[in-house]
């Protein structure tokens, strides 16, 4: 009878609960509780700390902030983002790679006739055994070393399917393995999310956050503590310039939604400057939106500074005592340098913001304590983004950066309170991340991620600086590098690629060029480890199935932009799907065959790793390992000085710049960086001071011609605003069926395909005969992507918005149906000496796809249109794998 009852009342069947952060691409994230039953995940919901601890036990762990008569208390429930709460759909996605897959028309051995490089992204896959897959990898590794030398294998990694993992995280395992063999060429993660600050602001205020990101953070620790509290207490006005905290922060948690509501309730004013009426300004009636044309912020910023200079609305004393070189910036702003005063009228012609609005904002800003919030949205991702990074620093410097209420709020300082733990990811992530950290270690031969395609196609590239995204100072940008490396460093062309992050084409610059490179016959073997059959994996010869974070045991807590850090030890919530293994397990398995397994696992099993991590953690005097394991999570106590007002953000420098210098050559904020002109004389794109740089024809020495004033705008008259998607993290989560039925995520075209929305203003749509839902092509010289029109008042005219990171769905070379906008972003770097990426603020045209054109494509590329397609998920395993 009891069995029968079980069947008729499944609602009563017991469930098991695990706790972990699920942040698709980062550390930690607000903690989710994952309930499972019979080896199947039932639900994912926010963790409530009080389910295992009393309020008395939690009292030293939860902060409270009081300002203007109102108190904000740290919630006792975590705030994981919708990506995490829908993660069941990723675990059970129809797009999961379940078994090792081999491309049908590729064979190992390097015979050009059997590689069929030209068919990558076109031909399908078939299932093979793990034994065969590993045999292929091992034989190809040996062949590469024997034929081309120790650096002929390029490892692409980091920042891909990280999923908050620690021990099992990919991104450096392949490097660790090959490092114990004969070597590898390292793909360098060029700075993303911080481009303009990394390449620009670092020359103004030093290395900044994490010793290299270029966000404001003072030495000696280069961390910006207490900024949320400083803003809460003292800031009157918050400027969101390229900041959409209701979107970009949601990769790890939604605690900023709670804090922003509190800030509005205590009377703070917000101005959002963005080409797109972003998800933050759209839902808060109290905020003001100032639409601006993409990538014109440097002109806008100069007009703001012009008003301050001419009306005395800046901190003259601070500029005198804390900065150098202001006179050069003033001379440029006032027109003494080039005869053109940078008035609001001048800027308006470029940026599209009316001069009266620029003036009004400049005065509001100059008269009130104002902070800038910034988080990985559009404006630092365009051509010449170093200029915008620098003008943002100039604005803050003119208003006395570091004084109470005048701070830069950035992705390195969104935590409201400091806890004792202070390490990302878990109770002690550093030792667990030993394999991932491999990607920060310079090798004999490196290639920047932005230049992979060029390295493969041109076989010869030169660049400056950027050995990694963090722990790198400004002077590094003067060091010249080459690929191939010189002979004494075993420089060689790469002929095998191994990716633990197969999304370069969707996340980085000019994805179509990357696809070209993958189709180059010099790439004899391309293997990826990935959970889902998507993007770069479609161009692989071998794809290895990887577990998602919910199929692994690990030690993962929350951290990195959460209300409160939490430590967790969790068991897997379900068995690995298909034959998937973690990147760590794959590395160990191959390492075992080569006799180097202990170089990866250090001779420890999982339990020993977790125990070791705990033993050296900063919470081992607060809780026992056994209790942590039994309860599954622990909320560490706040640091004793968590609410100290001593030095929030840049305060110490503000109070005494001599005693607390920055790590710039002068120790001060440098409006003018003479070292840039010394090292790169004649560089008109990144000179000693920031300017409005429009660029121009290549024949005149410009890297970009991507403004509405330029020649190319005649053919491509719209500026692309490729803001972060509300529904994805980078290229992840594009297969979640519950997101794809929301029209801000996908729009169903008349042919039944779920197209990526192209947000276009009614005026621009009408001029092109486009209506809501029409299939449109977005294109420039680099290629064509298909989207569906989302006609809206939420985007600036002369600009369209296509969020980055949609899955590519190749129809033919340089023609894609998935709407992955980075495919058509520029190949060229930020500027000639700054090899970061340009993935927004470039020129395109948008037009309606007529039926005849679509029919012609179907005739020309029948295989692409014949592939199986599931509108709910998009491309699936069945799309690409032969029976």
């Amino acid at each position: 009878m009891s069995d029968e009852k079980q069947v008729t009342e499944p609602c009563k069947a017991p469930e098991e609960t695990n706790f972990r952060g699920i942040a698709c691409g980062g550390f930690g994230g607000e903690i989710s509780a994952i309930d499972s039953k019979d080896g199947k995940i039932i639900r994912i919901r926010p963790l409530e700390y009080t389910t295992k601890y009393t309020m008395d036990e939690l009292k030293d762990s939860l902060w409270e902030i009081t300002a203007h008569g109102k108190t904000l208390k740290c919630p006792t429930k975590a705030a994981p983002p919708y990506h995490a709460m829908a993660y069941k759909k990723r675990v059970y996605s129809k797009n999961r790679v379940l078994y090792p897959l081999k491309r049908v028309d590729w064979e190992p051995g390097g015979d050009p006739a059997k590689i069929n490089a030209q068919n990558r992204g076109k031909s399908k896959f078939k299932r093979i055994s793990w034994d065969e897959a590993i045999k292929i990898i091992e034989s190809e590794i040996n062949r590469m070393y024997d034929t081309y030398g120790p650096n002929s294998i390029l490892c692409l990694g980091e920042n891909g399917h990280k999923e908050s993992k620690m021990l099992h995280a990919g991104g450096g395992i392949h490097m660790q393995l090959l490092g114990h063999l004969k070597g590898y060429t390292r793909e360098v993660r060029t700075p993303d999310s911080v481009e303009g600050f990394y390449w620009g602001a670092k020359h103004v205020w030093g290395t900044g956050a994490t010793f290299g990101l270029g966000f404001a953070a003072p030495p000696p620790m280069n961390q910006a503590w207490g900024v949320v509290q400083d803003i809460t207490k003292y800031t009157d006005l918050l400027i969101f310039q390229a900041c959409d905290l209701e979107t970009t922060q949601n990769y790890s948690g939604q605690h900023m939604s709670q804090i922003m509501r509190y800030w509005l309730d205590i009377g703070k004013k917000f101005v959002v400057i963005d080409p797109f009426c972003n998800y933050t300004v759209a839902c808060h009636d109290e905020m003001k939106w100032i639409p601006i044309l993409p990538n014109t912020d440097a002109a806008f910023d100069y007009a703001i500074m012009y008003v301050w200079m001419t009306e005395g609305l800046y901190d003259r004393d601070y500029v005198k005592t804390h900065t150098v070189g202001f006179e050069k910036v003033r001379a440029y702003a006032l027109g003494e340098e080039d005869g053109i005063p940078k008035t609001p009228e001048w800027a308006s012609e470029i940026c599209g913001v009316k001069p009266w609005t620029i003036r009004a904002l400049a005065r509001e800003w100059g008269r009130q304590r104002t902070s800038i919030a910034h988080f990985s949205a559009g404006h630092n991702r365009g051509p010449y983004s170093h200029e915008i990074g620098r003008t943002e620093a100039y604005k803050l410097a003119m208003q006395g950066l570091g004084k109470p209420g005048v701070q830069q709020l950035h992705l390195g300082c969104l935590g409201p309170a400091k806890q004792a733990m202070q390490v990302p990811g878990g109770p002690s992530s550093a030792p667990l991340m030993i394999n991932q950290f491999r990607q920060y270690v310079p090798m004999e031969q490196d290639i920047p991620r932005t230049r992979i395609a060029r390295a493969i196609l041109d076989k010869d590239i030169t660049w400056w600086g950027s050995p990694q995204i963090v722990y790198v100072n400004a002077a590094d940008q003067f060091v010249e590098h080459h690929y191939p490396a010189p002979p004494e460093k075993n420089g060689t062309e790469v002929h095998m690629l191994w990716s633990e992050k197969p999304c370069n084409q969707c996340c980085w610059n000019n994805g179509f060029k990357f696809q070209d490179a993958m189709r180059d016959p010099s790439v004899e073997f391309f293997v990826s480890n990935h959970q889902w059959l998507e993007n770069d994996s479609l161009f692989c010869d071998l794809v290895l199935p990887v577990t998602t974070c919910l199929e692994e045991n690990d030690v993962v807590g929350s951290s990195q932009n959460v209300n409160v850090d939490v430590a967790c030890i969790q068991k897997k919530s379900c068995e690995p799907r298909g034959e998937s293994m973690s990147d760590f397990q794959i590395g160990c398995r191959i390492g075992k065959d080569f006799g180097v397994e202990e170089g990866i696992n250090l001779g420890m099993n999982e339990e020993e790793w977790f125990r070791y991590a705990f033993d050296i953690s900063q919470i081992n005097d607060e809780v026992s390992y056994e209790e942590l394991k039994e309860k599954g999570f622990y909320v560490p106590k706040l640091a004793p000085d968590w609410d100290s007002e001593r030095y929030p953000g840049m305060r110490a420098f503000y109070e005494d710049p001599i005693a607390n210098p920055l790590d710039t050559p002068t120790g001060k904020i440098q409006f003018y960086a003479v070292e840039l002109e010394e090292h790169f004389p004649g560089d008109k794109e990144r000179a000693g001071i920031a300017r409005w740089v429009a660029g121009g024809p290549e024949s005149e020495g410009w890297t970009h011609d991507e403004t509405l004033q330029g020649e190319r705008a005649k053919k491509y008259p719209l500026l692309m605003c490729a803001n972060t998607s509300h529904w994805r993290l980078h290229a992840q989560c594009d297969d979640i069926t519950w997101f794809r039925e929301v029209d801000t995520c996908k729009i169903r075209g008349k042919d039944g395909y779920q197209y990526e929305p192209c947000w276009i203003h009614p005026d621009d749509a009408a001029a092109r005969g486009i209506e809501y839902g029409d299939i449109v092509k977005v294109e420039n010289e680099r290629g064509t992507i298909l989207c569906a029109a989302y006609v809206t008042e939420r985007v600036m005219p002369q600009s369209i918005m296509v969020s980055k990171g949609a899955h590519s769905d190749p129809i033919a070379p340089h023609l894609d149906r998935g709407g992955s906008v980075n495919l058509i972003s520029p190949d060229a770097p930020i500027s000639s000496k700054c090899h970061g990426f340009v993935v927004s603020g470039y020129l395109v045209e948008c037009s309606k796809v007529e039926d005849a054109e679509m029919e012609q494509w179907k005739k020309d590329y029948p295989d692409a249109f014949a592939r199986k397609y599931d509108p709910d998920t998009g491309q699936t395993y069945e799309t690409w794998v032969e029976e």
């Binding site: 009342e9 919901r45 919708y82 709670q258 639409p291 009266w356 519950w738 008042e793 709910d872």
Partner: protein, 266 residues
């Protein structure tokens, strides 16, 4: 009686509520309370979105909509099999074991909150996550409410809820709905006033909106902006006055919110 309160002012449009409903009910069988919800296309809770105004005066309103738990439920009246009942706690429940798939309740619901599951031949809707309420673990409230990080969704005994200013949707349908809504959007008229001879915004301009539906006054702020919020539908005359200059124009909120953009005061 248990019910929901939805506060649109607190909602940030994240869709966690809609995701929660899917996560709880798609692919999960909660018999005897509910059979699974289809994976896509049906929304026992739907976050509706409305874009309002014109650039740059644009706002987006989000509104969570689910079964309105009506006291005079037309679905109950329409069901010939007695499959729809009111639970003791007040929630309206379709008993999956009794539903015969006649679809009459689907047509009867004026709020479009009942869906027909073709595969299971079953009418389905929000259950208030009654299986969770009754068993009390791992949570004892509806998933949509549990997933909301900003307090935009509340659930509980009606007398315990803060209902100040709350209203119900479409009471004219006559079904006596029981779900409460706060801060439902009314129309707005907004603009930026500037002086074209100086290229300056006009601060402190007195703006009046006059019409049969009412008379309203606002003053432009430091950005030269005026926002008339919570307006009734109607035909109005907008008058802007500053330093002896006057501008008049007709505006209508009958069909939509009005963002007038930049208005020169000459």
């Amino acid at each position: 009686m248990k019910t929901f309160v939805v506060d649109l002012k607190k909602c940030v449009g994240c869709h966690n509520c809609q995701v929660a409903c899917k996560d709880e009910h798609c692919g999960n069988d909660w018999m005897p309370y509910a059979k699974p919800q289809p994976d896509t296309g049906q929304f026992w809770l739907k976050l509706e979105q409305e874009e309002r105004g014109q650039i740059p005066q644009v706002r987006v309103s989000y509104m969570a909509k689910m079964c309105q738990q009506c006291s005079n439920a037309s679905c109950m009246a329409a069901c010939p099999n007695g499959a729809i009942i009111r639970r003791e706690d007040g929630l309206i429940w379709i008993d999956p074991a009794k539903c015969q798939g006649c679809r009459k309740c689907v047509a009867a619901c004026p709020y479009d909150c009942i869906f027909f599951n073709d595969e299971l031949n079953l009418a389905q809707k929000c259950t208030g996550c009654a299986h969770l309420l009754d068993r009390g673990w791992p949570i004892s409230e509806p998933r949509c409410v549990n997933n909301c990080h900003v307090g935009a969704l509340q659930f509980g005994e009606e007398e315990d809820l803060d209902l100040e200013g709350a209203v119900k949707l479409h009471t004219e349908y006559g079904t006596q709905p029981n779900v409460w809504y706060k801060n439902l959007p009314k129309k707005f008229v907004a603009g930026t006033v500037y002086d074209p001879t100086k290229n300056e915004v006009v601060i402190g301009a007195i703006c009046t909106l006059d019409g049969p539906a009412g008379n309203f006054v606002e003053e432009t702020d430091h950005f030269g902006d005026f926002w008339f919020n919570d307006l009734p539908d109607g035909e109005f005359t907008l008058t802007i006055r500053s330093a002896g200059k006057i501008k008049e124009m007709p505006v209508s909120t009958m069909d939509k919110d009005i963002g007038l953009g930049d208005i020169p005061l000459t």
